[in-house]
Amino acid sequence: MNTVPQIIFPVAIPLIAAFLLPIAGRCHAGFGRIFGRAAVLVTFLASALLAWQVAGAGPASSAMGGFKAPLGIVFYADNLAMAFVLLLNIGVWLFWPSGDEDRSGPYTLLLTLLGGGAGLVLSGDLFNIFVFYEIVAVASYGLAASGGSAAGFGASLRYLLLSALGSSLALMGIALVYAAAGTLNLADLALLAPDVLRGPPGAAAFLLLLIGFGVKAELFPVNSWVPEIYASAPVRVTSLLAGIVSKLALIVILRFLVLVFPMPSAYGLLLTLGILGVLAGELAAYRARDLNSTFAWSSIAQLGVIAIAFSIPGPAGIAAGIALALHHAVVKPAFFFIADKWRGDVKLLSGGARTSPLVAALFVLLSLSIIGIPPLPGFWAKYLLLDAAFSSSPAYWLAAAVVLAGAVVEGAYLFRAAGFFYGGPQKGRGAALFMPGELVPAFVLGAVLLVAMFAIAPLGAYITSMAVQAADVPAIAAQILLGGN
């Protein structure tokens, strides 16, 4: 139990840097680029330091400006939050635009996204979460449109309309919560919830929050923006949104579920949407004709699987969800990088393995892992999920069956693509497309996957401890309240 004022750094540094960056860029173009990278690095170091502290001394919290918890703006950091903050940092670093353009816009937006995302998982207050969510949302609208294509603008606008409506719904949910409980501090809510938030008002509030935040978490059915955006946005933005930002929103939903709404109807709602998401995503991906939309749809399915995991009460489900989320965060961006190199019809992959053997091998490796083939990490994540699901009620058995069936469909469409890679006559595009330089992040992620395979035992233990910590409601509540002192 400790209060740590540095908890603000992962949020504040990038946000401040985001505002300074255009000025720096105006001074000197090259300096602007370096400034952005440097800001991410500094944020990463600050986050890592904080994570180290949190890992050593336990969860930390801090209230801004010295106001006591119910009134003040509280930040709360445990291993789970720090893991995703670090992931976000690494992701932003890895997917930092490689082009040498002079526009500072995307960099600013990325830094904003970084700060907002960190704030999203670190906030201990419902309204703050909303604010940071909006910051992330606005940044991602901009990033989605930053490709500069007409389709990008159109998709981004549709995304914006949907997401803004979702935000309004979430705000409505917040209003409901406030009306019922009179506070928006997560700790207070956790303590008050059993009295005031059980029953229809609580369920309605959760539903509205779930729908609102579900837009970013690619929850069914508010994920209709996904195929459009992932098809039109630059690959690095896509990777970031699909790989990491969507997980942040899910983590927030998890926090709501665990701390404020731990009731059957809430779990059931998330479970239902998760199952529908898996079905929708896998089946639609099976019919997709190009890699990009295949991965967009399959991303929906994967997020559905994570939602199913989070909908299992208890630390086992949380651990499974975290493992799945981390795994997906590694695999999906790499997939999008490959898809970016082979845009268009999957049939154009024909013979690609002959000219780009490494890329094809990477594709197969990623596919095997995401389907869940032992001994790759994806299998162990799925193992955790099934373990948790089978020890819950029969509704989760159904979910497990859907996930397993989904894996078969997944194998069908991924290896259909792999079949084009390895079989068929060469279509002549492979040679020009083998650009390892462009695919560096994908290979880095593939290497991470392989390394993780040999570190399953410690990783598993760490994730489990993370989940236990995240499920311990009284401790979290006490720590958040402590933050005000």
């Binding site: 409506l165 719904l169 508010v222 479970l271 997709a288 193992y383 078969v408 290896f415």
Partner: protein, 642 residues
């Protein structure tokens, strides 16, 4: 190895830990080594030698297991996510491991010579073969359900990798296999998680506890998941559609390996889980409501149908490899049926059939590959008369088909006899009749195979074909020879199956070198084969000593319908070889299962399109609001989740 030489009873003295570890280590080194130096021409020979050494290690392990050691443990074990993963080789695994390495030995030998040089990426094939062996050894030596599942997946994907090597249609066939295998694996995955849910562990003992602790409905679910999941791999009906095309399109030597042992991994897992761990009594007491059947008899009927239907589908094939692979599916039914009878005779018969099948199917496939190597095709309508050109290949094929058809004096007869006998003694006349019917179908079908390739008219373009090189002929002749020797002296093979049978548990089958002696009818192959050879000798005497001298005429020196038949007049009766039969049974199986498969595909397509359409057409804020409304309506009524 010096350790081995020092002692007299070395298997009692050496550290048994090392045997399995040596085996796995060697397999792993071989697989990785071949990936690195796969392009070198000596890779195949190196692999062959290494497989030979592994066979020697297995032989030592076999001696140890035979002397009463329960299993050979491995030093390799992991603890992951609170579960212990361990490996150990017991008699059952050893039996299948012996077949695996043996099949790999012959396949590798065959692939190292001229045939391999003509292949495009033989180095990769050698490496993948070694990978398959490694994966299978890991599966066969698994020590708990989790390592079993890991091994299972490795085997599936290693087989998938080697299946794709044929290119073109092979990739499509392998893709189909992959979907089936994946679905099966997921079923197995669900099953083991179900076990873990009940007992909290994944050891083999936990499965046994789980079954006694579960409700009948749960046991049924478990049984169906395991049977279907493992049944996919051994192509039990109705999950059999993938196997024939997938195995046929695999390049020759690898295909022989896959045919001989790959599908048997499914049998191994079924024996392990259903027979050894669950026990046939438990399966027998699992009654199907409103029928006289139990889970055991249902599975036996599935095995029997798997025996009959694929055999008659094989009969209709026009490609030699497809014909053989369809028979492979059918033969799997015999093995499972024998094992499921549960008597010592049935189990021994089923296991011996695994051994026998591996020998003759590998020999047959290698022989057909030799034909493809020389004549360039395995289309049964485009060959004929090769007996004069490729006599040794013919001999192999002949011995192979006699084994496949289950006629004396080859080993296939002995195991089939044991299975028939066990069915008869076990009071299963209908199943026995189905087994007989399948054998009759096999005889017809293998005659078509040998006739269309080797007998009848020689085609003009094949008039100058040469016999396959020694590197190809020798391995297949040796395999056929093993088939004959174990047919003549089945006791040799039964000694090997003994080790597996002891590991399964239950009564042992008393046997002698020539066969078995039972109260209700015996078989002594020493006599049968001896008399048969003697009688053929007598026939030879009658033939050679009596009557006038023969004139051997050219193959084309005969006539039909007033024409002298020569190579110019193409009149080889091969297309639609059994027209009458085809007219009768053709309509029976006009692909109801194929249609079911297509139906599932169409269903997935339509469902996928529907989901896509849902997202494409609509203006999405509407969905959001709809969900909110629906959610608000339903949030009050969630009771099913704790």
């Amino acid at each position: 190895m010096s350790l081995l030489l020092r002692r007299r009873f070395f298997w009692e003295e050496i550290d048994l830990m090392s045997l399995l570890d040596i085996l796995l280590l060697v397999a792993a080194l071989l697989a990785s080594g071949l990936f690195v130096l796969g392009r070198g021409s000596f890779a195949g020979w190196l692999a062959t030698v290494v497989y030979g050494l592994m066979l020697a290690v297995l032989a030592i392990a076999g001696l140890a297991l035979d002397s009463g050691v329960a299993f050979i443990p491995s030093a390799m074990s992991f603890e992951i996510l609170g579960r212990n993963l361990g490996w150990r080789l017991d008699g059952l695994g050893w039996f299948f491991a012996l077949l695996t390495v043996g099949a790999a030995f012959f396949a590798s030998w065959y692939g190292s010579g001229e045939w391999g040089r003509k292949q495009k990426r033989m180095g990769l094939q050698h490496a993948l073969l070694a990978l398959n062996v490694l994966a299978m050894l890991l599966l066969l030596s698994s020590g708990d359900l989790l390592s079993l599942f890991i091994g299972w997946e490795l085997v599936s994907w290693a087989a998938f990798a080697i299946m794709t090597q044929g290119g073109g249609p092979a990739v499509a066939a392998a893709y189909r296999y992959m979907i089936y295998a994946l679905a099966g694996a997921m079923a197995v995955f669900a099953a083991i998680m179900l076990v873990q849910n009940v007992t909290g562990g994944l050891g083999f003992a936990d499965l046994q506890t789980a079954i006694s602790a579960m409700s009948t409905a749960q046991v049924w679910v478990l049984f169906i998941l395991f049977a279907a999941g493992f049944g996919v791999k051994m192509a039990l009906m109705p999950f059999h559609l993938w196997q024939a095309p997938a195995y046929s399109e695999t390049p020759g030597a690898s295909s022989a390996f896959l045919n001989a042992v790959s599908a048997r991994m499914g049998l191994f897992a079924l024996i392990l889980v259903l027979v050894k761990l669950t026990g046939l009594e438990a399966l027998g007491s699992l009654a199907i409501p409103f029928t006289f059947m139990s889970a055991k008899s249902a599975l036996m009927w599935v095995a029997a149908i798997t025996m009959v239907v694929p055999t008659f589908i094989a009969l209709m094939q026009t490609d030699a490899r497809m014909l053989l692979t369809w028979h492979g599916i059918g033969q799997g039914g015999y093995m499972l049926l024998g094992v499921l009878v549960g008597t010592s005779l049935g189990t021994a018969g089923g296991l011996m059939h695994v051994f026998n099948y591996a020998t003759y199917q590998a020999a047959l496939f290698l022989a057909v590959t030799a034909v493809i190597h020389r004549a360039g095709t395995s289309d049964l309508d485009e060959l004929g008369g090769l007996i004069t050109r490729m006599p040794w290949t013919y001999v192999t094929l002949l011995m192979g088909i006699i084994g496949l058809a289950g006629l004396p004096p080859m080993n296939g007869f002995v195991s089939k006899w044991m299975i028939y006998k066990s069915l008869l003694d076990g009071g299963q006349p209908l199943l026995l009749i189905m087994a007989f019917a399948a054998t009759l179908g096999t005889i017809l079908s293998v005659y078509k195979l040998i006739h269309n390739i080797f007998l009848g008219q020689l085609r003009r373009e094949h008039q100058h074909l040469k016999e396959a090189p020694v590197s190809m002929v020798l391995p297949m002749l040796i395999l056929a020879g093993i088939g004959f020797v174990t047919g003549f002296m089945p006791g040799l093979a039964l000694n090997i199956t003994d080790i597996a049978q002891r590991a399964i548990g239950g009564d042992m089958l008393p046997h002698h070198l020539g066969g078995v002696t039972l109260a209700t009818g015996s078989l002594n192959m020493l006599w049968v084969v001896g008399v048969l050879i003697g009688a053929i000798g007598a026939g030879a005497l009658i033939f050679y000593l009596l009557g006038n001298r023969r004139y051997e005429v050219h193959q084309f020196d005969n006539y039909a319908g007033g024409h002298f038949l020569s190579a110019d007049i193409r009149y080889h009766f091969s297309h639609e070889f059994y027209p009458g039969l085809a007219r009768v049974i053709g309509p029976w199986y006009r692909g109801s299962i194929v249609r079911a498969e297509q139906g599932i595909g169409i269903l997935v397509n339509v469902a996928g399109d529907l989901w896509q359409a849902v997202f494409r057409v609509a203006y999405t804020p509407l969905y959001m609001l709809l969900v909110v409304v629906l959610g608000l309506v339903f949030t009050g009524s969630w009771g099913i989740v704790p």
